[in-house]
Structures are given as structure tokens and as C-alpha cells.
């Protein structure tokens, strides 16, 4: 399988090519061939990515019980000293670079080395110093590649049916493939700049997909909002990257890892600032508070697009960045990590609370996504690299599944998204129902689904977290407390959504006559249901079977980050708490929606009116932004334009008028005095009179001349004064 690693760069190139082909031959391909072509190409890409992943797994081997994983890792990495050419971008000479010549910086654990690395040594040059650009594959990347291509494949297969009859069918597939290429590029980037390129490429495609139905107002608004909100975060990130470059002189991850310990000792404050600024990017892209507002409105796009972009992959790239640049954040100090953890924890709870009252099925999932992304930041912030990336993987599978299932529901409901009009769909659309159930249970953290394992691991890390020295003790408790509360709320709102959609009696005509979606859609659902159910369990079980090692050891071992903090204390307690809260959430929701009469809910709303309104209006964040930033920016724009027209141009015109006035004076002088002289002295009159009269004719030349003469005299005068 190792040979596949040599061709891993194709994983980026193929979707890019596919997108270009679909865009170029849109007229020839049309519907549905463009869709099948896209899906087929992505299927091939997925198979390649799967081989790469298997290759990586085989090289990594299995963790030996109680032994330091360092030894195995060193062996695995050592085989790849040889050069691999610059196939990556089809460009010329490139040298093998950075495959970890630096000695291990931390104890006995070596830096994680890429399995393959393609570098373009002279992508840019500054005062003789080259700026490198390259692609790489390491274990985390290999896993991400497989996940992204699988989700993208399912989404495209599904979309062939879902987008049937859409007038921009081909455009949709071109955008989805370009988007996937962007994500894969970001995942394979060996430096921050290239990661940002992939990152923004996704931003573009997200804009295109949200605005897919741009004739209608909501997509127009949603696409604009998404781009600007994420751009705001990106700008902070760019400044942060600039600061990082000023400190380290490099943006390559391997070089960064080598120099950061020293930089952290010498310029701790500057590094802290840089890391915080960089975190602005993930806050925007991964929709964390306070820049989360764009994601719910991103649901204006077609549902499969939402599944791919606003659930499984693009929004996760912020998390991926924090993971990939983990060294930056760790070296920047525990305060930065605490900020990440607290932002994540707060966002997860905040968004989960809003999700409890959404009635639009996609909105529930949108807020759920924000909440789950918060979980991932929580995990990374408390130092658990493996829990954050693990949840990133499992969440991608089950959230993509949930979105696609929701799309199938919407399809069956003739584009109605309100859950109050659904009900009883369980029997009408059984495949959708059962696959949804898999996603639902995984998200709710039901025992032995994928979500259960990843959530458990991150809560365990949160439980054992210590706030930075000097911070009050109760802060240490916050991430776990919020995370646990979120676990309860997640189970609650997902049970509510499931019950409202699939159980009870049909509450509308459409629900009454719903039909199962066409074959491509259900096939995609079934394929995704497998990893959603098993991805957590399978990996853990695999390890357990062969090694009898502790059950969670494989993923941390596989992604092996030397900087992470992996506590194992109180594992049973945390599992018990999390499981109990999850089951409790399911129980409470069932009690409220299935057992108790409607009267109870009405009474509850009346009693808790202020809370209800606050949640219903999503804490008024949108209203606040509109009143401040949006209105303020527009007003400032008008002010500047007015200032430009009136003040700046006013001065210019005033000077112009002054010139004209001076010309008038000259003309008057000309008429009264010169002309008087003219009468006396003929030749002088003929000469200067004619010359000067021109000044008053209101023509360009006259003003010009006046100015030129004035300015030359003035400037010469100034210069003469100064040179003395």
C-alpha cells in the first residue's frame, strides 16, 4: 500500500481537474452526467485516499502495550529520507526538505514526521532567502484525506438525485469539486500560507454554494454574511501570521516546530499575541462565538452543500488549523490554550441552548454544528490533540449523515423544513429514518456509537484540565462543566428533533404523502452510516483485539503529537457522568414531547417567558451586530464619500477657483494697466497684452500656465530660502 503514498498529491489534483472539466464542458456534460462524472472522480480519489490511509496505518503499526510509541514512530519515519521530486505542482526542481532532520525537541518523543513531503524550494524569494511551498502527508493528514473524500463522494452521489432539475446543476458540481480540492489542499499544506490558500478557496466555494439560488433574497444575504464574517476572522489571522513570521522568519510547520521553543523563551508576549490573532481565523471559519452568526444563514444553500461545507469539512478546517499548528498554540503558553478551551466550551453550550428551540430541521443541525465545533476547540484547548482531532473525524461522518438525511426529509416533504409540519415520517421514509437514527445516536453520544467515544475522550481531558497558574481555581472546572451541560442539551435537542420529525402523527399534507428518496440518495446515506456508527468503535476495538492495550490508545498513537497532554485519571467517572447526562437528555426530551401533554409545554413557555424569548431570538446577537457594525460601516462609508466630495475635493476646487481668480486679476491688470501702457508703447502692448489676455479666457492652458508659474516661483523661493 505504500506506493499509494507516492501518489498522494493526486488527491488534490484530481478534484481540481474534475472541477475544471465540469466548468469547461458544462454544456456537453449537463445533467446528470456532470454529477456522475464528479461522483466517479471523487470515488477514485477516495480509493486512492483509502490506500494512502492504509499505507499510513501499516507504517505506523500498532501501539505496543505500555511501551513508548516513540521507537516505532522513529522507525516508521526513518525510511523516508529519500527524495520524492516535485511532482506536486508539476513544477521544476525541488529538494526533499524538512523530513525531520532536526533532533527531537521534547524528551524522547521525536517530532511527528511527514510520511511524504513534496517541496517547491523557490516559490518565492526575499532578499536571497527562499520561501518554500509544499505538500505533505502525515498520519493526521492521511486520515483527514480519507474522511474528506468519502464525505465528498457521498455528497456528490446524493446530489445527483437531490439537485435534479436544478438550472445550475453543473455549476453546483464544479463548485463542490473545487471546494473539495481546497479542503484537501489545506489538509496537505506544509505551511500556513498554503493552508490559508486552501482555506480561502473553500470560502469562495462556500460563497458560491450558499448563494446558489441567488435570485432569492435569503441566499444573497447568507452568502454575503458568510464571506464577510469569516473574512473578519481571517484578517486577524493574517495579521497574526505576519506577526509569527516576524518572530520566526518562516511559515513552514516543520521549521516552526523547530524554532518555536526558542522563540517562546525569548519573546513570550509577542508569540502570545500572534497566537491569539491567528486564533481569530478559526473563530470565524469554525463559527465560534462571537463570529458564529454566519453559519445558520449559510443554510440558505442546497442541503448537500450544507452537509459537505457547513457541517463536515470546511467549518472543521479551523479546528484542523489549530491542530496542525498545535505547536504555535502550545508554545504561546497556557493562557492561549485556556482561551481556546473557554471559547470552545462557551460556544458549545451557547449554541446547544439555541438549538433546543429551533423548529427548522436544518437550523437545529446548524446550531448543533457550532456546538460540536466548540467541543473540538475545547478538546484542543485543554491540551488533548487526539481528542480534538478524533471528534473532528467522527463528527464529520455523523454530521454529514445527519444533514444528508435531513435533506432527504426535506426532499420528501417538498422543501418544507419546519419540523412542526412533519411527524410520523418513520414509516414513510424508512431508509432515511434508520440512517438518521444512526447519526442521531452518534451525535447524542449514545454508548458504542462513534460520537460516544470521541465525546468521552474530550470530556475526560476537560475533566483533568488545570487553569493557567494565577487564574482562579473555579476556571479549571468551567470546560468540563460546560461540556457536560452541552452533552445533556445535545441529547435533548436531538431527541426532540428526531421525535418531531419521525414520530407521532403526520401533521401536514406533505408529511402524509411523503415518499422515500431516490436510490442515489439512500445509497449515500447508507454508506455514511457505516463510519458514523463504527468509526469510533472500530478503531478502538481493533487495537484492543490485537494488543490488549488501553482501548483509546490507537488514535492518540496514530496521530502522535508530542506536545499533547493526555490524562487518564477518572476515566470511569467521566464516562459514567457523560453517559448518564446523555441518556438523561434523551429521557427528558421524550418525557416532554412524547409523554406529557402539549399543555405542559405551553405552561413551561409561559413560566419561562424571558428565557424562551432570549433563546428564540438567539440572544439577539444578529440584532446587535446589525445595529452596530453593519450600520456603522455603512454610515462610515457615506461619511468618507461625503468628506471626499466636499472637503478634499472642495479644497482642490478652491485652489482651482483661486487660480481662476488670479487669472481674472491678471486679466484686469492686463486691461487697465498694460492696455494703458499699450496705448503708449506699441510694441510692448503687442507682445505682453496678447500673452496675458489669454489668461482670462477661461481655458485650460491659462489656468495651467498660471499654476505652473506660481508653483515654480513658490517652490524655487522655498528652495532658495532653505539652501541658504
Amino acid at each position: 500500500m505504500e506506493f499509494a503514498l507516492d501518489y498522494a498529491w493526486l488527491i488534490v489534483a484530481l478534484p481540481l481537474l474534475t472541477s475544471a472539466v465540469i466548468a469547461t464542458f458544462a454544456k456537453q456534460l449537463r445533467e446528470p452526467r456532470a454529477g456522475y462524472f464528479g461522483a466517479a472522480m471523487m470515488g477514485v480519489t477516495f480509493l486512492l485516499a483509502l490506500l494512502v490511509f492504509i499505507g499510513a496505518v501499516r507504517q505506523a503499526g500498532l501501539p505496543v502495550h505500555e511501551a513508548a510509541p516513540a521507537a516505532a514512530e522513529a522507525v516508521a519515519g526513518g525510511e523516508h529520507g529519500e527524495s520524492h521530486g516535485a511532482a506536486a505542482q508539476g513544477a521544476a526542481a525541488a529538494g526533499e526538505h524538512g523530513a525531520g532532520a532536526e533532533p527531537a525537541a521534547f524528551g524522547s518523543v521525536p517530532e511527528a514526521r511527514p510520511l511524504r513531503h513534496w517541496t517547491l524550494a523557490d516559490w518565492a524569494v526575499f532578499a536571497g532567502k527562499p520561501f518554500r511551498m509544499g505538500l505533505m502527508v502525515d498520519n493526521l493528514t492521511a486520515a483527514m484525506l480519507m474522511m474528506v473524500t468519502l464525505v465528498s463522494f457521498c455528497v456528490q452521489l446524493y446530489s445527483v438525485a437531490y439537485m435534479h432539475g436544478d438550472k445550475r446543476f453543473t455549476r453546483f458540481f464544479a463548485a463542490v469539486n473545487l471546494f473539495t480540492a481546497g479542503m484537501l489542499l489545506a489538509v496537505m499544506a506544509d505551511n500556513l500560507l498554503l493552508l490559508v490558500v486552501g482555506w480561502e478557496l473553500m470560502g469562495l466555494c462556500s460563497y458560491l454554494l450558499i448563494g446558489h439560488w441567488f435570485e432569492q433574497p435569503w441566499p444573497r444575504y447568507g452568502s454575503f454574511k458568510a464571506f464577510i464574517t469569516t473574512r473578519t476572522g481571517d484578517t486577524f489571522m493574517l495579521v497574526g501570521i505576519a506577526a509569527l513570521y516576524a518572530l520566526t522568519g518562516t511559515l513552514n510547520f516543520d521549521e516552526l516546530a523547530a524554532v518555536l521553543p526558542q522563540v517562546a523563551r525569548e519573546h513570550p508576549a509577542a508569540l502570545l499575541l500572534s497566537a491569539l490573532l491567528i486564533f481569530g481565523g478559526p473563530i470565524g471559519k469554525s463559527a465560534q462565538f462571537p463570529l458564529h452568526v454566519w453559519l445558520p444563514d449559510a443554510m440558505a444553500g442546497p442541503t448537500p452543500g450544507s452537509a459537505l461545507i457547513h457541517a463536515a469539512t470546511m467549518v472543521a478546517v479551523g479546528v484542523y488549523l489549530v491542530a496542525r499548528a498545535f505547536a504555535i498554540f502550545v508554545h504561546a503558553g497556557p493562557e492561549v490554550m485556556a482561551v481556546i478551551a473557554l471559547v470552545g466550551a462557551f460556544t458549545s453550550l451557547f449554541a446547544a441552548s439555541i438549538a433546543t428551540l429551533r423548529t427548522d430541521i436544518k437550523q437545529v443541525l446548524a446550531y448543533s454544528t457550532i456546538s460540536q465545533l466548540g467541543y473540538m476547540f475545547l478538546a484542543l484547548g485543554v491540551g488533548s490533540f487526539s481528542a480534538g482531532t478524533f471528534h473532528l473525524m467522527t463528527h464529520a461522518f455523523f454530521k454529514a449523515l445527519l444533514f444528508l438525511a435531513a435533506g432527504s426529509v426535506i426532499h420528501a416533504m417538498h422543501h418544507i423544513q419546519e419540523m412542526h409540519q412533519m411527524g410520523g415520517l418513520r414509516k414513510k421514509i424508512p431508509v432515511t429514518f434508520w440512517t438518521w437514527m444512526v447519526g442521531y445516536l452518534a451525535l447524542a453520544g449514545f454508548p458504542f456509537t462513534s460520537g460516544f467515544f470521541s465525546k468521552d475522550e474530550l470530556l475526560l481531558a476537560a475533566f483533568n484540565w488545570q487553569a493557567p497558574p494565577g487564574w482562579p481555581e473555579w476556571v479549571s472546572k468551567l470546560p468540563f462543566a460546560m461540556g457536560a451541560a452541552t452533552a445533556f442539551l445535545t441529547a435533548y435537542y436531538m431527541t426532540r428533533a428526531t421525535y418531531l420529525t419521525f414520530f407521532g402523527e403526520p401533521r401536514s399534507e406533505h408529511a402524509e404523502h411523503a415518499h422515500e428518496s431516490p436510490r442515489p440518495m439512500t445509497t449515500a446515506l447508507v454508506i455514511l452510516a457505516v463510519p458514523a456508527l463504527l468509526s469510533g468503535y472500530a478503531w478502538a476495538a481493533l487495537v484492543y483485539k490485537f494488543t490488549h492495550a488501553p482501548i483509546f490508545e490507537w488514535w492518540p498513537y496514530f496521530t502522535g503529537n508530542p506536545l499533547q497532554h493526555l490524562p487518564h485519571e477518572n476515566a470511569e467517572l467521566v464516562t459514567a457522568i457523560a453517559t448518564t447526562l446523555g441518556l438523561l437528555g434523551i429521557g427528558v426530551a421524550l418525557l416532554i414531547y412524547a409523554v406529557l401533554p402539549v399543555g405542559f409545554r405551553v405552561a413551561a413557555i409561559r413560566t419561562l417567558k424571558p428565557v424562551y424569548v432570549l433563546l428564540k431570538r438567539m440572544y439577539y446577537v444578529d440584532e446587535f451586530y446589525h445595529a452596530t457594525f453593519v450600520a456603522g460601516t455603512a454610515a462610515l462609508g457615506r461619511l468618507v464619500a461625503w468628506f471626499d466630495r466636499t472637503v478634499v475635493d472642495g479644497i482642490v476646487n478652491l485652489v482651482g477657483e483661486g487660480g481662476r481668480a488670479w487669472a481674472e486679476v491678471c486679466g484686469w491688470f492686463d486691461r487697465t494697466f498694460i492696455d494703458g501702457l499699450v496705448n503708449g508703447a506699441g510694441w510692448l502692448a503687442l507682445f505682453s497684452g496678447r500673452q496675458l489676455r489669454r489668461l482670462a479666457t477661461g481655458q485650460v492652458q491659462s489656468y495651467m500656465m498660471t499654476f505652473a508659474v506660481l508653483v515654480v516661483f513658490g517652490a524655487v523661493a522655498v528652495w532658495l530660502t532653505l539652501s541658504r
Partner: protein, 488 residues
Amino acid sequence: MLSLIVFFPLAVAVAMLLVPRTQEKLIKGLALVGTLVPLALTLVLLSRFEVGSGAIQFQEKFVWIPSLGIQYHMGVDGWGITMLALSTLLFPLAVLASFGYIEHRVKDYFVLLLILETGTNGVFTALDFVLFYVFWEIVLLPMYFLIGIWGGPRREYAAIKFFLYTLIGSVIMLVGALALYLQFPAGQRTFDLIELAKLTQGLPVNALTTFAFFALLLGFAVKVPAFPFHTWLPDAHVEAPTPISMLLAGILLKMGTYAMVRISHPMLPQVAREWAWLIAAVGIVGIVYGAFAAMAQKDFKKVVAYSSVAHMGFFLLGLAAGTPEALAGGYFETIAHGLISPLFFFVVGMYYERTHTRELEKLGGMFLTVPAISFVMAFTAFANLGLPGLAGFIAEFFTLVGSYQTWGLWILGAGLGMVIIAAFHLILMRQVLMGEKKYESLPDITPKEITIFAPLAALIVLFGVYPAPVFKVLDPGIKVLSALLLGG
């Protein structure tokens, strides 16, 4: 070779004078030849250009007025050849864009256009100040007439404004240069830019050198245009015909930026260091101010014009920072902007020719009416707002990266500008491209228009993905200038 590139268009212009007015086909053909030959010659030069050498290449030196130290001295290094290439590329495209668009006084128009090219090419190759100044002024006149005769309804006001602004600027610049020239005893005096710079770099920072620096800078800043000397630009653009707008944004502004890296900064780096903060402030204010002003405009062309003000702010910021990354990023911006903004003005022109309006409120749903043109518009807008993968991003990214080293968190101001730049482009696209159809059917893109779009788009993508060619050509010059601006 350089002289041929510079004077070939002029020679064709002279030849064209002999062609009768009615022979429009012949005139157009001549114009195309007159601009394509310099392009071909420049490509030959590019292939023979020694990358990595900081020396002046393809020099031509003749005695002109030895008593005053004036020479006919031509030559290019990285700074010059990139601009020369940009200029020779844009002129044929502008000629092409004029076909079918300029229909009255065709002969006069193309004669002036060819003279204009001689002026711009000369500015980027002249290495003697007097020669440089002559070319600098040659540019002024044809531009004045091109706006004043073939422009829109307020063309005379715009033309006068353009003329006065830049004339005052250039006169002040002349005084500054003379002041430096006269600093040295009669035997040493020279107008040779390279020689003069070697002398002036040793001058102390005093009132006179400061005056000379600002006199030079002012002349250049008007051309760039830097805030607050920018108000001629929106007026000139709005009134100018499309091809002239393309040239104005693509090349004429770059004369100012080129002159800064060629004259004011290498000659008086000691003064530039003292006042770098001011130039940085002007740059950042320009970015933010231009962006906000663009957002409030109702005329399509004015939006694009103000976005030029904002983008040129990046150049100034990079120049003021003086680090290799910032200088490279800033100068890259002038190249990127030189490719993107002509395309943007061309897009405005494409819509205008079809709808006869530039008012944003009257445009809408263009994606449905003219999809291909609208694709071009979207591409250009994203390039202009700095989308990664396209040339503008590389420029802005490295300007920021390099400027942080000098200005620290002040560059958050530039960051704010970037957000606003993105915002007004999105507003623009929402207004023009999205929504329901406002025009039932309009003719979509023509082969001629594709011919203009394709080379610019290809270069925008190429430099966005692989900027190495540009950076490598520029690097020796950047190394020297950066050392001057940072050292001491």
C-alpha cells in the same frame, strides 16, 4: 533595443499622420502593429534578462548635453522591466478594446494613444532624470486630450483636473530634482539617476534634503495617487473611455510607484527612513479611506477607481516598511493591480456598452442575462478583493507579513481596510450579478472581449499560484533598496 521599444510607437504615430482619415482599417491595423511590436520586443528582452543580477541591463548611453551632465541613458533592472512588460502588454489590449468602441476621430485617437505608449515606456526605461522628466511630461498631454475629447459628459472638468494635478506634481518634482542636482560642485553634477543616487545617499538629513525628498515624493504621490491627492482619479476614470481607464489604472498610476522605488527612495533613503511613519500612515489611511469611499459609490466605475486608491495604499505601506517581504509585496501589488484593475474597468465597459448605464441601481441579475461576462466580473472582483490563488492576495499577504516587522499592530488598520474591500466587492456583486433579471436579453461576451480577458486572467492566476518569476526578477533590486531603507 530599449530605444526601439520606446520610440517604435512614436514612429508609427508619425507614419499614421500620413494616412488619410478615412482609412480607418489601416489606422487600426497600424495601431495594433505599433503596440504589438514593442510587446514582442519586450518578450525577447525578458527571455534574455539575467535573473538574479542586480545590474542595469540592456544599457544604452549617449552623450547629450555634457556641460550639464545630461545623457541619453536607458536601461532596465527588475523594477523597470516588470513595468515595461506590463506597459507593453496593456497597450495592445487597450487598442483592441478601442475597436468598435471609439468611433469618431479614430485617427487622432490612435495617434495620441501611440504617443502615450512612448511616454510610459520611456518613463520605465530612462535612467537620466532629464530624459525621465521629458517622458513623464509626454505622458501628460495625450492623456489630457484622450480624456478631454473622447470622455463622458464632464470630460473637460475631469481632464483639466487631471492635468493640473499632475502638472503641479511634476513641476514640484522637477524643483526637487534640481535642488539635489545643484548640491554638488559643477564638475560632479549629473542627472544620471544611478550616479546621482550614489552622491545624494551621502547627504545629511537637513532642511534641504527633506525639502527635495518631499518635492520628489509629492510629484510621484499625485500620480499614484496617494491620499489626499487622489480626487482627480475618480473623476478622470468616470469620464475616460474604457480603454483609457484601463491604461490609466494599469500603467499611469504605476509611474508614480515606479518613480518612488527608482528615484525618491534610493536617492534619499536617509530622509525616507526619518519619514517612513508618514508614508506608512498615508498608505494605511489610503487603504481604509479608499475602501470606505468605494463602498458608498453609486457609479460602477467610481467603485473601481476608489478601490485603486485603496490598493495603492498597500504599495505605500510596503515601501514605508522597507523589509524585503514588504517591498516585494508592495511592488507585486502594483503588478497585480496593473493586471486586475484594467480587467475590472474593461468589465465595467462591457456592461456599459450593453446597458448604457453605470449606475449600480440599474444593473442586476446579470448572471442570468449575460453569464459569461458575469463570470469575468466575478473572477475580477474576487481577484481584486484579494482571493488566495490569485495575484492580488500574494501582494497583500506579503505586504502585511513584511510590514508587521516594522509597524507591528498598526497594520490592523490595513486589515480593517481588507475587510471593507471585501465587503464592497460583495455588495457590488450582489447588486450587479445576483437577483432577478433586469434586462431580458443582451448579447454575451464576444471573441474580441475574450481575447482581452484571457491573457490578463491567465497572468492573474499564474502569479497567484506561482509568483516566483516576478519575485526572482525583483529580488536583487529589493535587496539593495531594503538595505538602504533599513540600514543606518
